[in-house]
Symmetry: C2
Subunit: 271 residues, 2 copies
């Protein structure tokens, strides 16, 4: 029975899961499982399809499975998951949400938020600096808050925040100031002049939405433009930025960056 | 991220699990996962390590996971698992225990017992007949009951049952008669003369146990000798039977037979 194709799972395999509803579209099982193989770990990420009414009770019991060491949460569970963590990591404490749980060596389940760290990792991957840069961030919801908090740790010179809901923008501004008081944080209409980086973390432009989160017809080709949207990979914002001569970073790159940081989290390395 | 090594799991993968404590020694994850691949199914069997105090609550929630379609139970859960089935298959109804649960298309969880079917499958695999044969079965506990019930459906001419606990032997004799009244069933000391098949389903001879379940120094070389014990694969009983010129079937072959029957069960084929 020792066949080549069966070598990816055994009784010793440590299990990780991605929890969502639906789950068929999730690419994390293949991405993480391949990354675990590359790291020489006997581990696997499986899809776990949980219905909303079952969420709390089901995750509580999954945490009791002794060879299940970590969970990633996707739609619609990013907000509810924080209640299942025994302790919170540094990102989650500020953002107020988690998208992953890991069993620590002492058995305590730590939750943390990796959406923003993935964005920062994508900039690092491209060797695009954030230190001392002037940023505009559009969107201060779930993704925007996570990205804003992660950016705050990178010591940019300034962050201009825009959200349709001014109270959300003010709330994120206060979080960023609490992390790093040296950053010049302002809120209001999105600025595209006298900046180095433009980041979109709003849902404007997702799927077949033809709108732009901001008018960039006058943007300088020196500005780096990031869009957190994964589908489509090349949003209208990124397409127009490229036409204008800007360098761009996609939501897919953020996902990949997040996966590496999560794999570190799951394999017990510091985040 | 489309790497060769990641093709074994995706968001669409259907999950099966083997539940036990401990679980590291289980060979089902690799055996079943390889068999699912051979059958062209997008499915995987994972090890699930559940502690006794968590068993009932944890399995109840695992049954709620929408892409988890089946569970196999190993030590120490073969007895407790029957309480988790919504309905019972034909073997389980007579044996009174299950070692597997499957989600049926209507969402109802059916439990059945495959230990005995694996033994019968091993005889079929070797083309050794059971029809009209004279059998001696030693052991009427969990494994012995499952094997006795499965044998009863194969219409042997006679079954001689032996167990250290005479009440257990009588109980199994009654079950066999209820299934197939044409079989001549007797209980008492294990007979090795005037038989065609000797089956050991007692734990005598397991691991480093030097004992024999029955004295076979006078056995005929025409008798087929089966031992349900998996470790060691070649028990003292089987070793001596081979010396006497008998054909033998191992517990490992029963496991393999059981795996094929379980894979049928899991892929929705009739048992």
């Amino acid at each position: 029975m020792e066949t080549e194709e069966s070598s990816f799972v055994s009784g010793r395999t440590r299990i990780f899961g991605i929890v969502g509803d639906p789950i068929e579209q999730a690419r994390s099982p293949e991405m993480f499982s391949a990354e675990f193989v590359r790291r020489g770990l006997e581990a696997l990420m499986i899809p776990i399809h949980v219905l909303p009414g079952d969420f709390a009770a089901c995750i509580a019991q999954l945490k009791r499975v002794q060879n299940l060491d970590g969970l990633v949460f996707t739609v619609p569970y990013k907000q509810a998951a924080i209640g299942l963590a025994d302790t919170l990591g540094p990102q989650a404490r500020t953002v107020g949400a988690i998208n992953a749980l890991v069993r620590q060596p002492d058995g305590v389940w730590m939750g943390d938020m990796f959406d923003g760290l993935g964005c920062v990792a994508a900039f690092q991957w491209r060797c695009y600096p954030l230190l001392d840069q002037r940023l505009t961030l559009i969107g201060a919801g779930g993704a925007g808050s996570a990205i804003g908090v992660a950016l705050a740790h990178e010591s940019p010179r300034s962050i201009r925040l825009h959200d349709r809901d001014q109270a959300r923008a003010d709330d994120l501004a206060a979080k960023i100031r609490s992390i790093n008081p040296a950053i010049e944080v302002t809120t209001g209409e999105p600025l595209i002049s006298d900046i180095d980086v433009l980041l979109n973390a709003s849902p404007v432009g997702m799927l077949s939405d033809p709108r732009m989160p901001v008018d960039i017809s006058a943007i300088s080709p020196d500005v780096i433009v990031f869009d957190a949207i994964v589908k489509p990979e090349r949003t209208h914002l990124l397409a127009l930025a490229q036409e204008r001569g800007c360098r761009t970073i996609t939501g897919r790159e953020m996902m990949r960056g997040q996966m590496f940081r999560l794999a570190d989290f799951f394999s017990g390395r510091a985040t």
